[in-house]
């Protein structure tokens, strides 16, 4: 789980070009969108592609994706569960 979180944070920084942000700056339970990391709806597009590129998972269900995008914790739990299937 921690490996996934670490990979995810590094991917977020690289793919979303988050400037002056280190993996340790991203809190596990902070919201990714809005007040937390400050991502917007365009970043959601990039996130879906990121999950596919780095973890080989296609996020086809919109509601599932919305829930998974709540935080790093939620997204890594989603990825772990999907990889276990």
């Amino acid at each position: 789980m921690n490996d996934i979180k670490e990979t995810l944070k590094k991917a977020l920084i690289k793919e979303l070009k988050l400037e002056d942000v280190n993996p340790q700056d991203i809190e596990d339970d902070a919201p990714l969108f809005g007040e937390g990391l400050g991502l917007d709806s365009l970043d959601a597009i990039e996130l879906v592609v990121l999950v596919q590129r780095h973890f080989g998972l296609s996020m086809q269900d919109q509601e599932e994706a919305r829930l998974a995008f709540a935080s790093v914790n939620a997204l890594s739990a989603y990825i772990e569960a999907r990889l276990a299937c």
């Binding site: 809005g34 917007d40 709806s41 086809q60 995008f69």
Partner: protein
């Protein structure tokens, strides 16, 4: 019309930028036309349309909303010439609306697509990374999109915004059944974004309009009919992130109830361009060039009744800040 919020902590609002999807006609006027089509068919509706168009050419609201395009497309026109061109524009627009209603009420309409154009779509679809079909408010674009699901057995989504309280009915509203494609409301923020990217990930077709801004979107500037306009950058951003090619197509009306799909360009946007609108301007320029060529061929089928050349408030405020 297709844009999503790209400013952190600024949710996409239900605000169109300079344009409205609301019809100028009243509920009664719409109902009369729909009833007439059901009883007398297309010709009867065209007959009623003629005097209605004539009356509308003198409406201040219509004059104001049609002037920016006509002035750019036909600069230097005199008073009578402007009226004549306004009448032609409204006449074509009216016939397109009648055709759309006829398609919904009686099911009569035809979309012509050359085999060569279909082959282009088939070839691009083989890449299995989805397809962005980018068009403009030229001709009968909604009718043309309705046949896309017949071309390829893949999911088709159309990004379509409707102002609350809009009386104008789409062809599928008349038919009383779900359209052949799924509709994505661009005002949905993250939901809209997810729906768009998921359509592409399924290898599907995503139809978008490249000529209208929506919400808090950032924009690309591109010359169109001699002056810069603001165009949404979402289609090019989506293409960059997902790798999906953009097929630029237009759907001019070619006769009563007849539309022709014309593919004019295939745009490939490289990945890794980030979120700076300027990076996407070369692609928006290609779209604007294609749109200009098309309105030179079909000058009275460009249905953007607002000032496309007016800078959106976001850009004006940025300029004020930097001044």
């Amino acid at each position: 019309m297709t844009s999503l919020s790209s400013s952190p902590r600024q949710p996409c609002s239900r605000v169109t930028v300079g344009w409205t999807s609301r019809s100028l006609g009243s509920r009664l006027q719409h109902a009369v036309f729909y009833r007439l089509i059901a009883v007398g068919g297309r010709k009867a509706a065209y007959a009623l349309l003629f005097p209605v168009v004539l009356l509308f050419t003198f409406k201040q609201e219509v004059i104001r909303r049609s002037a920016p395009y006509l002035q750019h497309r036909f600069p230097g026109s005199g008073h009578f010439d402007r009226w004549r061109r306004r009448r032609r524009l409204l006449w074509e627009f009216g016939k397109t609306l009648v055709d759309r209603a006829v398609a919904g009420i009686t099911g009569e309409f035809g979309v012509e697509t050359d085999q060569r154009e279909l082959d282009t779509i088939f070839e691009l679809h083989k890449e299995n990374i989805g397809l962005i079909m980018l068009s403009s408010h030229i001709g009968a674009w909604q009718m043309s999109m309705s046949v896309l699901p017949d071309c390829l057995p893949v999911p088709v989504s159309v990004v379509l915004y409707r102002d609350p309280g809009d009386l104008d009915r789409h062809y599928f509203d008349h038919a009383g059944k779900a359209p052949a494609f799924s509709v994505i409301d661009p005002s949905g923020g993250m939901s809209s974004a997810l729906a768009m990217v998921q359509t592409l990930q399924k290898g599907g077709i995503l139809c978008m309009m490249g000529d209208r801004l929506f919400g808090n979107s950032q924009e690309c500037r591109a010359p169109f009919l001699g002056e810069a306009v603001s165009l949404p950058y979402t289609p090019y951003y989506l293409a960059s992130v997902t790798g999906a090619p953009i097929v630029v197509f237009f759907s001019p009306r070619v006769g009563p109830g007849k539309v022709r799909n014309i593919i004019v360009d295939v745009i490939r946007v490289p990945s890794g361009l980030g979120k700076t609108p300027a990076a996407y301007e070369p692609y928006a320029r290609r779209f604007a060039e294609a749109m200009e060529k098309r309105v030179r061929i079909n000058p009275y089928q460009f249905f953007n009744f607002f000032n496309l050349w007016e800078q959106p408030p976001s850009r004006r405020s940025r300029q004020t800040e930097t001044a």
